[in-house]
Symmetry: C2
């Protein structure tokens, strides 16, 4: 790791040569403007200029990926796609996530000379670890709070996403807690609505959880969605904390990375980071950011749990891409910064095997909304079907053998196996 | 304006019918999950469901705009592009920008049933205006601070963007202030670097501005880039305020909309909102957000000035799109929420005419980095060339007549007219 420079890798497409494109990127994001100006000395360029560290041609294309790109006068009709690595002196912006983003992303996406730009990865000096403490709980801390080891944390999302009264929600949570679930989260659509204000929701839900815990001996983790304006983050955190709650959730792209970092400086609870809106930054292959880069920033900013999609889910993302996201999150950052990937959307017992086979890790949260709650025999059966499927996957038993031995799994297949999962 | 519902308009592309796509969007972002769950009652759907308000087919295509989209079993090979309007009950999330975004953007970009999704516009109930006070200074307040009326605020960006020592910067600012400029801003790449810490920069720059003001009688406005983590926003605002500064700048996408709203609750200075990273959210025509929608959120959150691009600039954006962004910003929101559009990048005297002709407004900031500082006769000549060009444009005189009468404009053409602007 370089201690003095941030290293950013981009996927670039350009009608110019990759060398020219690399120089434009380095110039735009450090010392340059469109015409030479007084004061742009050699000393200044040497000390503050971004530097092209590597260029690798991947492919030649005949159509630009994005609109608005210019071509050189003698254009040969080709658009060159390749990986470009640029390093930036850390002292240009210091270990500050918001200012880092203005440098490594900034105006680059608007450059005429590029018909594609995607930030693939970031290598960040140790100074960022000094500035941002990262997850306070992480994988170990979450397991310890729950006393669940050697298997994924299994849970669900409150469905219907919105509209339940706090009384209805309380009953539901109590039922699910008695059914043995490890974890429940608010839907990202539900934070502090007028029909079920957070304070009341927290009270009712925590009472339900405590009642169930008195019977089962197990206190479920509930991620209360405290997404809101910055003055609300602390206030809502305290409401949860003071009621005996054990997890808060924020929509990272709603509050911003500095919003989450601010919460993390203060928080005494695991932070469950939801990444809704992320598709906007990543679904075009020609634009945006790769999750490999973004998850590092989320971990620095304090995400104890972070959402990825799920295999065979209902979203556009390929299984390969989901697997790579899970692997990115489980790769150590600095001396740890352990964050638990949260697998969800379109999940049920049947997605345990492909997930385990592709990732070989049990250190995930596996959440199923409909796939747990709508099990034909109820939520307890939904939970049990997922637990058994993971146990089978981890021990090398096939899913069909698992189903043959366990009616509760067989019943899940009958219901969810038909919907294309 | 609807007082009870948020109305969102999307550009959608889908291999299914637009009607099916609209229902998927409405379901995903309100009461639905992938399978029917207990508790999803008719009462709940009626009170909390998003509603399809309008569908307009625009075009049929034979290639999907984005990857990962599914097609129906009987797919006719067509992808239908159209406008879909969806309304959301305000009580689902309340007048909260972060929670609004989880609803109107949220997971929509990831839906398999869509091969394109772009948020075009938002209509927000009055409750948002009650919650977010918007710009404290706006156009009138900025003009009053500067005592500049009946023409654009003309200024520049510190170039080289980074690397100047505070002493060098101070000298430069004093020279530019004596040259008569209205406005200078830090580059978005330069906030609080170790080689020129904000506190020292503010002191040196404000001394330079006051010295010049003593001679000219005019106090230039300097937008200090205070982009940073949450705890820094207030601290840096106070440093600027206490030194007699008159403007702070933040990179909106770096600090997040709630970050800017938080600053605005507290700030006693105009907030200059830089939109770097915005290209990431908007350059793909199939994805992201249109500026028409985003600028409303920036204005609610307190942007007194907001960056758009410039006509004939160095970025990818078409002139038509830049004009539409300027027009969006100058369209009243609620009872005002006046924000001054900031036109920059690749600008010089020659871009005044096309800008005025297309927008017919003088209520803009027009910033030129190289186009002012690198004028062959110096920055005072650069400023004068822009002032004269705007005066000509507003009075109906052509740019060439203006240049014939004014050598300082002619000299600008000789230098910048050749670089394709």
């Amino acid at each position: 790791m370089n201690d003095q420079r941030v290293i950013a890798t981009y996927l670039v497409e350009t009608a110019f040569s990759l060398e020219e494109a690399a120089l434009v990127i380095a110039g735009e994001q450090s010392t340059g403007t469109f015409t030479k100006v007084p004061g742009e000395t050699d000393r200044l360029k040497e000390e503050h200029g971004a530097r092209v560290e590597g260029i690798e041609l991947l492919e030649e294309r005949y159509q630009p990926g994005l609109p608005g790109a210019t071509v050189p006068a003698n254009h040969d009709g080709k658009y060159r796609a390749g990986k470009i690595t640029i390093s930036f002196p850390l002292h240009n912006f210091g270990p500050s996530i918001p200012n880092l983003m203005s440098a490594v992303a900034g105006n680059l996406y608007e450059l005429q000379q590029l018909s594609g730009l995607r930030l693939l990865d970031l290598e960040l000096p140790e100074a960022f670890a000094k500035r941002y403490q990262g997850p306070k709980f992480g994988i170990d801390g979450t397991r310890k709070l729950l006393n669940v080891y050697d298997r994924p944390i299994l849970g669900t999302i409150v469905k219907p996403s919105i509209g339940l009264t706090t009384a209805e929600l309380g009953q539901m949570v109590e039922r699910l807690a008695l059914a043995g679930l490890d974890f429940i989260k608010d839907d990202e659509l539900n934070a502090n609505p007028t029909y079920a204000p957070l304070e009341e929701k927290v009270r009712v839900v925590m009472e339900a959880i405590e009642r169930a815990a008195d019977k089962t001996g197990k206190k479920l983790m509930y991620a209360f969605n405290i997404t809101g304006d910055w003055d609300e983050l602390r206030k809502h955190h305290d409401i949860v904390k003071n009621a005996g709650g054990n997890c808060v959730m924020v929509s990272v792209l709603s509050v911003g990375l500095p919003g989450m970092a601010y919460l993390n400086d203060y928080s005494e609870l695991p932070i469950h980071a939801h990444r809704n809106q992320w598709g906007m930054l990543t679904r075009s292959p020609h634009l945006g950011i790769e999750f490999t880069a973004y998850q590092k920033l989320c971990r620095l900013a304090g995400a104890d749990h972070i959402h990825v999609n799920g295999l065979n889910g209902k979203f556009y993302e390929s299984n390969a891409s989901v697997v790579s996201a899970i692997q990115a999150c489980t790769t150590p950052l600095y001396a740890g910064y352990e964050t638990m990937p949260v697998i969800s959307n379109g999940q049920w017992a049947g997605t345990a095997h492909p997930t385990y086979e592709a990732t070989k890790t049990l250190d995930v949260m596996h959440l199923a909304g409909g796939g747990m709650l709508a099990h034909p025999d109820g939520a307890a059966a939904g939970f049990e079907s997922m637990r058994l499927a993971w146990e089978a996957a981890a021990s090398g038993e096939s899913f069909s053998d698992c189903a043959n031995k366990n009616p509760v799994v067989q019943r899940a297949i009958e219901k969810f196996g038909k919907v294309g999962h």
